[in-house]
């Protein structure tokens, strides 16, 4: 375990990957990692076998009930994701970016947060919303094209799913800074993609967070693609966790398909933030199993062989193997989880049968808090137009009747 001196002469014990360049790290709440970089931290291996503690960088395997909870949430989340993808293929949604294969990252993120904490997700992270309690119909409102976003942000403490890449990371840092100014205990966690880390906003977010020591966690889901662009065309450093060095915050390189490791590290990072230890960057190395969105064609840019290889590292199967071999998952339990998943899928299909009718005049309602006469005129104009069309329609039907 590397020991280095920072320029104040203090001994600093480093975090995963970012070792000897980290000075803002509060070690109390962050277990010390000992594995040689850059093998990602893993607590349960591909075969579903628990990693020897000496290899687990000081992170303990989460308790059985936690693992069971993570398993349940992943299974349910995947069922939802698969269901929505199917509905999208049927043309029932405008678009849906699937998180298939990334359940460990998404669920670990949500499971690490308290109810008062805030989540800043992207278009990719619908299952994180689901797992934090957002009803399917509210999640799907935007993908169905009903409105740009459709859930209760303050109730769930979840910001709107961001589309402009990396922009939400700055919002998370701002919120976390406000928390600090007010002396609250809340933590903000933001999800980013590997590609998004190339945007200037990611850099500014990392840097503001470190300078302001904001209680924020940056969880980068490295699914190895930005639409069609592979990681090696995105960056030249070894891992995304390396980037933490340049901000003076701890960087963690974690097996993103091992929900046990993801949960252990993200919770530690959340604790660090909550306890005044400042921001952390966690990289979950995973893989995007589906197309970028339904309108994408991955065969143009990647081998199905790679996809198959990663299917073998499935985060759910891996944990399932472990739970079974450890005798922690009973058949009743599995049946119960399966039932919950199917009920959710049914509910999701069900909600798609109801088309939320949105009054087009609402288009003018929320642009400003302060009413504007010009907008009122335009609303009245549209109201008139609609009325006339309806009138025309009825007369025509009248005629044809």
């Amino acid at each position: 375990m590397p020991i280095v001196h920072n320029y104040r002469g203090e001994v600093v014990r480093g975090a995963w990957m970012a070792h000897d360049c980290v000075m803002s790290l509060k070690v109390e709440s962050v277990p010390v990692l000992t594995q040689p970089a850059p093998t990602p931290l893993r607590l349960i291996d591909d075969a579903g076998v628990a990693v020897d503690p000496s290899e687990s960088g000081g992170f303990a395997l989460p308790a059985p009930e936690i693992l069971l909870g993570l398993y349940r949430r992943m299974v349910v989340a995947r069922r939802f994701d698969v269901q929505v993808t199917a509905l999208t293929r049927q043309g029932r949604l405008a678009t849906y970016p699937s998180a298939l294969g990334q359940e460990a990252c998404e669920i670990a993120a949500v499971a690490s947060l308290d109810t008062d904490d805030w989540l800043f997700p992207t278009y990719r992270d619908s299952i994180a919303l689901l797992s934090r309690g957002v009803p399917p119909e509210d999640i799907l409102a935007s993908f169905r094209g009903e409105w740009h976003s459709g859930y209760d942000y303050y109730k769930h403490r979840i910001a709107p799913q961001a589309t402009p890449l990396a922009t939400q990371a700055l919002h998370a840092v701002g919120l976390a800074t406000a928390v600090k100014l007010k002396g609250d205990q809340t933590v903000a966690l933001t999800l980013l993609g590997d590609g998004a880390t190339s945007e200037g906003d990611a850099h500014e977010a990392f840097n503001f967070a470190a300078v302001w020591q904001a209680p924020v966690v940056f969880l980068v889901q490295n699914n190895q693609f930005a639409i069609s662009v592979p990681l090696d065309k995105q960056m030249a450093c070894r891992t995304i966790a390396d980037k933490a060095v340049g901000y003076g915050m701890p960087g963690y390189y974690v097996d993103g398909n091992d929900v046990a490791a993801m949960y252990a590290v993200v919770s530690a990072a959340v604790d660090t933030a909550r306890n005044g230890g400042g921001p952390s960057l966690v990289e979950g190395l995973t893989y995007r199993m589906e197309a970028h969105t339904n309108s994408d064609d991955p065969t143009r840019y990647r081998d199905s062989a790679d996809v198959d290889e990663w299917r073998g590292r499935d985060p759910i199967e891996r944990l399932e193997k472990y739970l079974l071999s450890a005798g922690l998952l009973t058949d009743d339990e599995r049946a119960d989880i399966a039932r919950e998943a199917e009920d959710l899928a049914a509910a999701t299909r069900e909600c798609m049968t109801k088309t939320a009718v949105i009054d087009p005049l609402e288009l003018f309602e929320h642009v400003y808090a302060t009413p504007r006469s010009a907008l009122a005129e335009q609303r009245d104009f549209l109201a008139n137009e609609i009325a006339e069309h309806e009138a025309a329609a009825t007369t025509t039907t009248g005629e044809t009747a």
Partner: protein
């Protein structure tokens, strides 16, 4: 903070803003000082108001508009941010979501461009995106326009970009009294406000007894009555318009001058009323003409008052070129002579 508090973000601040401090004795005050007082008083009245940006702390801003605030309110409420404009706006958004009312500064308006995405895609759209559930009471202070002998990038006029963006409120004061009153109102507003400060007027003085309250910030004001022609100006060109009106007297021309104050929304009522009275108008701004804010002024006024117009509404503006270097800016800026000459091109039957 609880959802309860969150959803009621701002309103409390508005109440506070109304509970203004006791009047102080009148004193001559520059626009910079009036802006400083406005931020100071808003921070006194409302603990959720925070101030940050580049060099706004100990230095007090490159124009000293935030002078003394760091010393008075301390690091937690007044801070120098890292040097990144997108970061400044992006973090202000997060703070606003949590219930704060950030007042941020873009050091010069050409330096607001790195923040363009955060302003246009989020500040302007967040409220609409969330069906009113999240509002962003953010004030973005932007020192703009030229006539200060500034080198490249220090004299841009970016108002056309902001005014063309639905979701933004864009206002600009032309004098110390409005500077104070409008900035107080902007900070108290639950809508994000792009607050454009005419650099060349920072040192203009007026006798003020604070807290002064002028017309609502979304209203245009007729600042000089006239009968022959309406000059429509804002920010730095209001002074030019008034000087023109003086000059015009000799030529027996009675010029009415309107200070728009609010660029978005546009006060159709006030301006159309004046236009219907004079039947002639010209809009004056520093920015280039093509696609500039004046185009909207001409277009909407012509649409609404076509049959009252004795002549086309003129635009007397900067040329369609980048803002020139100090030694050439005099040729670029609209002058009273140029404006009078333009009015002379009308057929005056």
């Amino acid at each position: 903070m609880t959802a309860q508090q969150s959803t009621t973000q701002g309103s409390s601040a508005r109440d506070n803003a109304e509970a203004a401090p006791a009047p102080r004795p009148a004193a001559p005050m520059t626009m910079a000082a009036a802006l400083n007082a406005a931020i100071h008083d808003a921070m006194m009245d409302d603990p959720s108001v925070v101030l940050f940006g580049e060099d706004v702390g100990p230095l007090g801003g490159v124009f000293r508009v935030t002078d003394g605030l760091y010393a008075e309110f301390g690091e937690t409420r007044v801070s120098d941010s890292p040097l990144a404009e997108s970061g400044i706006i992006g973090t202000a958004i997060g703070m606003a979501i949590y219930g704060l009312r950030p007042v941020v500064e873009m050091q010069f308006d050409a330096f607001s461009y790195p923040a363009f995405e955060q302003i246009v895609s989020h500040v302007a759209k967040m409220r609409n995106r969330t069906r009113g559930k999240i509002q962003l009471p953010i004030v973005v202070r932007i020192p703009y326009a030229g006539d200060i002998g500034g080198v490249e990038h220090h004299s841009d006029s970016s108002e056309a970009y902001w005014a063309a963006t639905p979701g933004l409120t864009v206002v600009t004061p032309s004098n110390p009294a409005d500077a104070y009153s409008m900035l107080r109102e902007a900070i108290a507003s639950d809508d994000p406000v792009i607050f454009m400060e005419p650099k060349s007027r920072y040192w203009s003085k007026a006798e003020l007894a604070l807290p002064v309250q002028t017309a609502p910030m979304n209203k245009a004001v007729v600042i000089r009555e006239g009968s022959d022609v309406t000059l429509i100006a804002y920010g730095p060109t209001v002074k030019t318009a008034l000087a023109t009106a003086e000059l015009a007297v000799e030529e027996g021309l009675s010029v009415e001058v309107i200070d728009l104050r609010s660029l978005s929304p546009f006060d159709d009522e006030t301006v159309s009323a004046s236009l219907r009275k004079t039947s002639r108008a010209a809009v004056i701004h520093e920015a280039a003409q093509f696609g500039g804010y004046g185009a909207e002024v001409v277009a909407r006024l012509t649409e609404r008052n076509f049959y009252y117009l004795a002549a086309p509404i003129l635009r007397i503006t900067g040329f369609d070129i980048p803002y020139p270097s100090p030694k050439l800016e005099e040729f670029f800026l609209p002058t009273p002579d140029r404006i009078l000459a333009a009015l002379g091109t009308w057929e005056w039957s």
